[in-house]
């Protein structure tokens, strides 16, 4: 296991370098100019010239990239062109927000998706199976932003049960955190639950058809014990991997939900930065996301080994 971890870290370095180079190049290929956005409607040529020099945009692109790399290596991720706030501070402000939302979403997804998947596999072909399929297809088909707006209109505007927007950390104010997280987490979770349900169902079906399950049944074990102890444990391996990857996707992929519920999260930070051509923020954020993804992949592999004894050798 340790050699696996070490190996992964060694591979991560060139991967990260490539990702940052790719993002750097891609951004500069985008039409538009952050300075024109910054200089305001008046676009005073003297101001533009000055800003271009101040931020080093008058230098050749490779030089700009090397300077950025050198600064990052020294721990300096730069500052937002738009507000002057340091990039690391912005990431520090927004990442915990999205991690909290993503954790709640994954929990909701697992609570709904996994039992539903197990049930529909066990009762394959029954009305339970069909109902679960209908629910999961609906969950997959409904766009997040639409469901979000409908929930706000019904639960917040009409019923006035929950706040329509906002964020509170679960460590500072658990009640408000619950109030503000529950709707967006449900919106994100409902879509993921569908994916998880489909995967749990097929994994369970595969395992339930294996010989050792027949043996377990033949031994006279209770159906509950067969399903939960023997079948589910083995079906869990791909589900754990999938959940971890889904969590990674949520970090940057919760943008629409974050917009609708006005949650100052990580996805919103990226989208705003791209629209404003805030180069430093985009690069810093992408680098962090790439690191998180590599970390989560590694984490998934480790979990895989822990849940599957055959891989431990």
């Amino acid at each position: 296991m340790w050699s696996l971890i070490l190996n992964r870290i060694l591979v991560a370095v060139p991967t990260l370098l490539l990702v940052t180079l790719f993002v750097f190049a891609l951004q500069r290929l985008l039409p538009g100019d952050p300075l024109l956005t910054m200089a305001g409607e008046e676009r005073d040529p003297a101001v533009l010239e000055h800003l271009r020099h101040l931020y080093g945009f008058d230098r050749p692109l490779p030089v700009q990239f090397v300077i950025w790399l050198r600064e990052v290596a020294a721990g300096n991720f730069g500052a937002s062109l738009r507000t002057g706030e340091p990039v690391l501070k912005l990431i520090g402000q927004t990442l915990p927000v999205t991690v909290q939302l993503a954790t709640a979403s994954i929990l909701i997804a697992m609570l709904i998706g996994i039992p539903m998947g197990v049930l529909s596999a066990v009762r394959k072909g029954s009305w339970v199976d069909y109902l679960a399929n209908i629910i999961s297809l609906t969950g997959l088909s409904i766009p997040h932003f639409w469901l979000g707006i409908i929930l706000i209109l019904v639960v917040s505007v009409e019923l006035q049960w929950l706040p329509a927007s906002g964020y509170a950390s679960v460590f500072d104010d658990p009640v408000r955190a619950l109030q503000t997280t529950i709707m967006p987490a449900f919106v994100l979770g409902s879509g993921l639950a569908a994916t998880l349900m489909r995967h749990t169902r097929s994994a369970m079906l595969e395992v339930l058809g294996l010989d050792y399950i027949r043996t377990a049944r033949a031994k006279g074990l209770l159906p509950r014990a067969v399903i939960l102890k023997h079948a589910f444990r083995n079906a869990l391996v791909p589900i754990v991997t999938l959940s971890t990857l889904l969590f990674g996707q949520l970090l940057a992929g919760a943008v629409l939900t974050e917009q609708v519920f006005t949650i100052p999260g990580f996805g919103k930070l990226i989208v705003d930065a791209v629209f404003n051509r805030d180069y430093g923020v985009v690069q810093g954020v992408v680098l962090c996301t790439a690191i998180a993804f590599i970390g989560l992949n590694l984490f998934a592999d480790v979990l895989y080994i822990l849940t599957n004894p055959r891989m431990r050798s």
């Binding site: 100019d33 409607e41 003297a46 000055h50 101040l54 329509a164 408000r176 529950i182 919103k268």
Partner: protein
């Protein structure tokens, strides 16, 4: 209690906690903004929403009222010398900054000098006529100008005239701005909120009864309205035209609107590179036909629920320079066709750059449909807002659907667009008479005399049409009825004097 009962009780508690507790505190005001402001430093800032925050946070030398007249704030009185090249201001006594230091003439001088010299200042061109500033005594500030500058007072009624504590200049200002306004800075979370609290030592503190002001950033207009209706906000700015009906139907809300300072228009490339060489760019009759093909009232009703102010001139209805002799033309299909025929271009086709927001797209489609009826084929090219300026400056456009946020002084709505070599004159329009009228108007302080100059320039630009004006945008606010005393101003700002939360 059994485990099962315990769990049920816990779930019930949790549910009660989630469903209960609607946060509402009496003298707090929560305002929903459409965008996140940029630098909270009036000398470096550029966004419209930033100015809304500054109006609560910072005080300025002078202000403008709903008739666009300049009124006193920190400067209690002022006068120009006979040659128009010296402006002397009397500074209010006993005013304090949020850090307790005194706001006197020397502090004013320090601010104007910072705005003129700071490397990242965006106020340099606004104060371009200022040669030097002096503070001969604690209540007198003297501006020496290179040339008479009529728009200067209007500039000083906005960010260029906002005052920061000079003691805060050593550190970066934006993360922790120290001003002298009715509210002081508490905290900011980028893309989420800016929080201010009442400054008890404000010189005019009696007029401000709201204790805490929270600006919350909610870009989507439907979501912004939903937050207002569900009680998360007390007031929102720039209510979308498509949401006006819903807001008016809500018995808890008031909808307030006023025509703004800016305009929406179509900029046409007349002489910027190869792409100007089209019938549209080369023949004013084609542009006139295009203008005549548009029904400005219908556009207003169809796309904007009738809240905009249709117009064919750069100056808004509130401005003394809005000229009644230039009425808004009615749609005239026959005359438009005649003009096209005379120009020998019965079928014209050109591209129009349009920002890719829903509303701009709708507007462009209505324009396209109207123009097609006279034989003008408008090809809509959706472009991201961040690229439009760049494309336009490079001359890579035939026409652009664009808006200007507008300025209090008439100069700010025409000079840089219409004079030869003007900083945003991307169509490269050039006319010696227009140059002369607009340049002269800059140095004239008398309103009646300036009106004549702007009318002379407008007579020509209405004929040549480098910009086809469509309407003046209106500012629309939706406000919870428990908030009273809000007075709209054509500049779209939120002034909190007299605003009460009941």
């Amino acid at each position: 209690m059994s485990a099962k009962h315990g769990r049920t009780a816990f779930a019930a508690l949790l549910l009660a906690a989630v469903l209960g507790a609607a946060p509402a505190i009496a003298a707090d005001l929560r305002i929903g903004l459409q965008e996140d402001p940029d630098m909270l430093d009036p000398h470096e800032a550029r966004t419209f929403v930033g100015r809304i925050v500054f109006n609560a946070l910072c005080d300025k030398l002078v202000d403008s009222n709903d008739k666009l007249e300049i009124v006193p704030r920190i400067a209690t009185s002022w006068n120009f010398s006979a040659d128009g090249k010296t402006l002397t201001m009397k500074i209010r006594e006993g005013v304090k900054f949020h850090d307790g230091t005194t706001l006197d003439a020397a502090a004013v001088k320090a601010n104007i000098d910072r705005a003129r010299t700071l490397a990242t200042s965006l106020r340099k061109s606004e104060l371009g006529s200022v040669a030097k500033v002096e503070a001969p005594d604690p209540t007198t500030v003297v501006f020496t100008l290179n040339a008479p500058d009529a728009p200067l007072l209007a500039q000083l009624s906005d960010r260029a005239g906002m005052l920061l504590s000079p003691a805060s200049f050593d550190k970066p200002v934006a993360p922790n701005p120290v001003c002298s306004g009715p509210y002081k800075f508490v905290e900011r979370v980028q893309n989420d909120r800016i929080v201010l609290t009442r400054f008890k030592d404000y010189y005019d503190a009696d007029k401000y009864t709201v204790d805490n002001v929270t600006f919350r950033i909610i870009p989507d207009s439907t979501v912004r309205l939903a937050n207002l209706r569900s009680g998360q906000l007390d007031m929102i700015e720039r209510l979308a035209p498509s949401d006006i009906k819903a807001a008016k139907a809500d018995p808890k809300l008031n909808v307030v609107s006023i025509a703004g300072l800016g305009y929406q228009g179509i900029t046409i490339n007349l002489g910027n590179g190869e792409r100007a060489k089209t019938p549209l760019g080369m023949d004013k009759r084609v542009r006139q036909a295009f203008s005549l093909s548009l029904d400005r009232d219908a556009i207003n009703q169809v796309v904007f629920e009738g809240v905009m102010a249709p117009s064919a001139q750069p100056f808004p209805p509130a401005s003394p320079y809005h000229d009644k002799n230039f009425p808004t033309p009615k749609r005239d299909v026959a005359k438009a066709k005649e003009l096209l025929k005379a120009a020998g271009a019965e079928k014209v086709s050109f591209e129009m750059l349009v920002a890719n927001s829903t509303q701009e797209q709708q507007l462009a489609q209505v324009i396209q449909a109207m123009a097609s009826e006279v034989g003008i084929d408008v090809k809509i090219k959706s472009t991201e807002f961040a690229t439009i300026f760049k494309v336009q400056m490079a001359g890579d456009f035939q026409s652009t659907l664009l808006q200007w946020s507008g300025r209090v002084d008439p100069d700010g709505n025409v000079h840089q667009f219409m004079t030869t070599g003007g900083s945003v004159n991307d169509p490269k329009f050039s006319n010696a008479e227009v140059d002369k009228a607009l340049n002269t108007a800059r140095g004239v302080y008398d309103v009646a005399e300036r009106q004549k100059l702007y009318a002379a320039a407008e007579k020509i630009t209405r004929e040549e049409l480098p910009i086809i004006y469509l309407f003046h945008r209106a500012w629309t606010w939706a406000i919870d009825k428990k908030v009273t005393g809000f007075e709209p101003n054509p500049d779209g700002m939120i002034r909190l004097a007299g605003v009460k939360v009941n």
